[in-house]
């Protein structure tokens, strides 16, 4: 009897599971109740009618959580402000967020849910490249636009009609850095890179662009994402006769490189990637961060931009809104990718309406859109639309960021 009772428990749990899942599948639903009008904005007409659904597949847990969380916060904030201002074409906007747990299979399931049951008109995310690449075929087949917040070259090359990305690709970060290195007369580079996707993709871009800019890579080293010391690699580099060291990686590796380089009394100038364009890097590297130069999106140094900078007002607007909505938290690049994706979708919705195919065609026509990540000019052959002007070069001085003139 003891056994039987436990089997009953197990079967009940399973039955509950099945019921819950089946409950999540599409069924003929009555039209939703009219949305509650916004309390604010007496001038804005309250949106009415069926909401326009936009999916967001983001990494809110797992290793990608630091990316997905500000993306979600940004989208939630935008959903509210857009609806408060009258929605899109008089209809309210509804953002449905799914956490993919930074897991490919979860992202795939969420993608199918959005396409099949929720019937979203467009989807923002995922936060990371592997999850994006995994779900791309689903949106390609469903003919619903997907705007990824991840940067891998493979997302936008070769171009898929329904797949876009608002993240700055590595190639343009490398191009921006190359311009500077060339102008300053550097000839021999030593590269030390993270062995993860970000680092390796950076190395590929460096290897391709260095010779074109009259530079030679004299030494190439790599480190594991969880390594705690890079002295071996740096010692080898020290003897290689390079006149500049380029470190390509995401935290914490580059911070350790900066520290170890200082310990080894390496005086060769140290350059890094946009992967360190965050407060965490300065926090981890401490005084060793001083003097490091890296390409970065403008959000990091928004307050230092001159009045002539086209992105300045957008960046300040985003910063102000984000801080107001999130208890003073500082916005970052990742939230910026979501901001850009949402604004592009809203603009496309206004011009083309909520049909996914028309929406994708309209997204492709996005021109001179001034966003957080840069100024976007999309085309049928470019579904990212950013150039190296999306970056500025930034250095750290006494723990503070400063634009390199």
């Amino acid at each position: 009897m003891f056994q039987a009772r436990h089997l009953t428990v197990a079967v009940l749990l399973l039955a509950a599971a099945v019921v819950l899942v089946l409950g999540g599948c599409p069924k003929p639903t009555p039209p939703p109740p009219p949305p509650v009008g916004p309390a604010l904005g007496p001038t804005a007409q309250a949106p009415s009618g069926e909401p326009i659904k936009i999916g967001a597949i983001l990494s809110l847990s797992g290793p990608g959580a630091p990316l997905g969380t500000p993306e979600r916060d940004t989208l939630t904030m935008l959903e509210k402000s857009i609806n408060d201002a009258g929605g899109v074409n008089g209809r309210p906007l509804k953002v449905i967020v799914a956490d993919d747990q930074t897991d490919e299979n979860q992202a795939l399931a969420a993608a199918k849910r959005f396409v099949e049951s929720d019937k979203v008109v467009a989807c923002i995310g995922p936060s990371t490249s592997p999850t994006t690449l995994t779900i791309m075929p689903v949106f390609k087949k469903a003919e619903i636009p997907l705007i990824s917040c991840a940067a891998a070259v493979k997302i936008t090359q070769p171009v898929e009609k329904y797949v876009f990305s608002t993240a700055q690709p590595d190639v343009i970060a490398v191009a921006k850095l190359m311009d500077y290195l060339k102008a300053k007369g550097f000839k021999k580079l030593a590269v030390v890179a993270d062995s993860n996707a970000f680092g390796q993709s950076g190395v590929e871009a460096l290897e391709e662009q260095a010779p074109k800019n009259g530079m030679q890579i004299v030494r190439k080293e790599s480190f594991g994402s969880k390594d705690t010391s890079m002295t071996t690699q740096l010692t080898k580099i020290k003897g290689a006769g390079a006149d500049a060291i380029v470190c390509w990686g995401t935290n914490p590796g580059p911070a350790i490189v900066a520290k170890n380089a200082r310990e080894l009394k390496i005086t060769t100038p140290l350059f890094m990637s946009h992967g360190v364009s965050n407060a965490k890097f300065v926090e981890l590297a401490g005084p060793a961060a001083d003097g490091v130069i890296f390409p970065s999106g403008r959000i990091l140094v928004a307050d230092q931009l001159t009045d002539t900078d086209k992105q300045r007002s957008v960046l300040l607007e985003y910063t102000k809104a984000f801080q107001a909505a999130n208890e003073g938290k500082t916005p970052d690049h990742f939230g910026g990718h979501a901001w850009d994706a949402m604004h592009m979708i809203v603009a496309a919705l206004r011009s083309a309406g909520p049909d996914p195919k028309a929406l994708a065609a309209a997204l492709e026509q996005t021109r001179d859109f001034v966003g957080v990540g840069g100024i976007f000019n999309l085309s049928p052959t470019d579904h990212n639309g950013l150039t190296k002007d999306a970056f500025v070069l930034v250095t750290v001085k006494e723990g503070k960021w400063e634009i390199v003139k």
Binding site: A10, L13, L14, L20, L108, S117, L133, T134, S201
Partner: protein, 340 residues
């Protein structure tokens, strides 16, 4: 009752299973649910082999995600780079993976104790590292996209429904073959081995050979499942084939029960569905947000506390005293059907 014969309960079980597959496939048209069923089938194939290894040969493998990955990458590379027929790639991948498993199992399975667990743990990590580092072949962490879909007699299996009708019959056949194996001479040897290795050896069972056979077979099954994954998702990258999946697969076997062929199937179904239910509830119930991982762990603990032998336990082990109130096998089949 004796080996080779088809016990009535077995025929009934398989018939009900086939009926469940048909009913689900014919009544469900949601790509999301069918997609989930496909995912369950892929995991079930791997878990089935792993269950044979754990339940019958008494060995643990911590590297089955690696074998799954080998199949996926073999298919991805052979079809995108060499333009090979996907079915041929699947076979080549399975053969290659089988050889690797054989080479690793041969020395480690001669030793008593959990040397295979250690060997496969290492192997799994090596395979994962190769996926990440051998970028010339595997394209590194960014993965291989645009893998062709499978086609069957000119019909491209390019949606969830079509793939469902391929993969679940494959699972059915695999279950049937696994059942045959258990009831064969080899199966009896394994059973003896699981009970008492020394006694089995004394009775003339070639212990090492039997274990090696099951291990290789389970690796081949994992590889085949991996190939199906590659052609289903049409993209592969290293992260789904890491250590975490190996653990997840083992959990499926343990939760489902390792002593019947149905156990791993039920385990794969229950865990995959559970994961989804929690993900959806986290999305819809604000209070659940961020707690789905905790809830997942809690449910597993409850399962194991109250049902350590797994959801599906065998009717009765030969020689063991009859146990009351065990779930009759056909019930388990219905659970499989519902869960998928």
């Amino acid at each position: 009752m004796r080996g080779g014969g088809w016990a009535r309960s077995r025929i009934l079980g398989l018939t009900l299973f086939a009926a469940a597959i048909f009913t689900f496939g014919l009544t469900v048209h949601s790509g999301y649910l069918l997609g989930m069923a496909v995912l369950i089938a892929l995991h079930a194939l791997v878990a089935l082999g792993l269950g044979l290894l754990m339940g019958w040969a008494g060995q643990i493998s911590l590297g089955h995600a690696g074998f799954y990955g080998l199949g996926a990458y073999a298919s991805a590379i052979l079809t995108t780079r060499f333009g090979l027929n996907p079915w041929l790639a699947l076979v080549l991948g399975a053969v290659g993976t089988g050889l690797i498993a054989f080479a690793v199992g041969k020395p480690t399975l001669r030793l008593r104790g959990h040397y295979l667990a250690m060997g496969t743990l290492g192997l799994g990590l090596i395979i994962w590292t190769v996926f990440n580092q051998a970028a010339t072949w595997t394209e590194g962490p960014s993965g291989i996209r645009d893998i062709p879909v499978l086609s069957l007699g000119g019909l491209a299996l390019d949606n969830d429904q079509r793939f469902y009708w391929l993969i679940w019959p494959v699972v059915l056949v695999a279950v049937m073959l696994a059942g045959n194996l258990i009831n064969s001479r080899m199966g009896r040897a394994l059973r003896a081995l699981g009970e008492n290795e020394g006694a089995a050896a004394a009775a003339g069972v070639d212990v090492a050979r039997a274990k090696l056979g099951v291990f290789t077979l389970s690796a081949v099954l994992a590889s085949i499942a991996g190939s199906f994954y590659a052609h289903y998702v049409t993209f592969v990258n290293p992260s789904p084939f890491g250590f975490a999946l190996s653990i997840q697969l083992m959990t499926m076997v343990v939760v489902g029960g390792e002593m019947t062929v149905w156990g791993p199937l039920v385990g794969a179904g229950v865990l995959t569905v559970l994961h989804q239910v929690l993900a959806i509830s986290a999305q819809r119930i604000p209070a659940m947000e961020g707690l789905e991982v905790v809830a997942y762990g809690a449910v597993l603990v409850i399962f194991l506390l109250f049902r350590p032998q797994g959801l599906v336990a065998p009717l009765r082990r030969r020689g063991a005293p009859p146990r009351a109130a065990e779930p009759p096998a056909p019930r388990a089949d219905e659970v499989v059907g519902e869960a998928s």
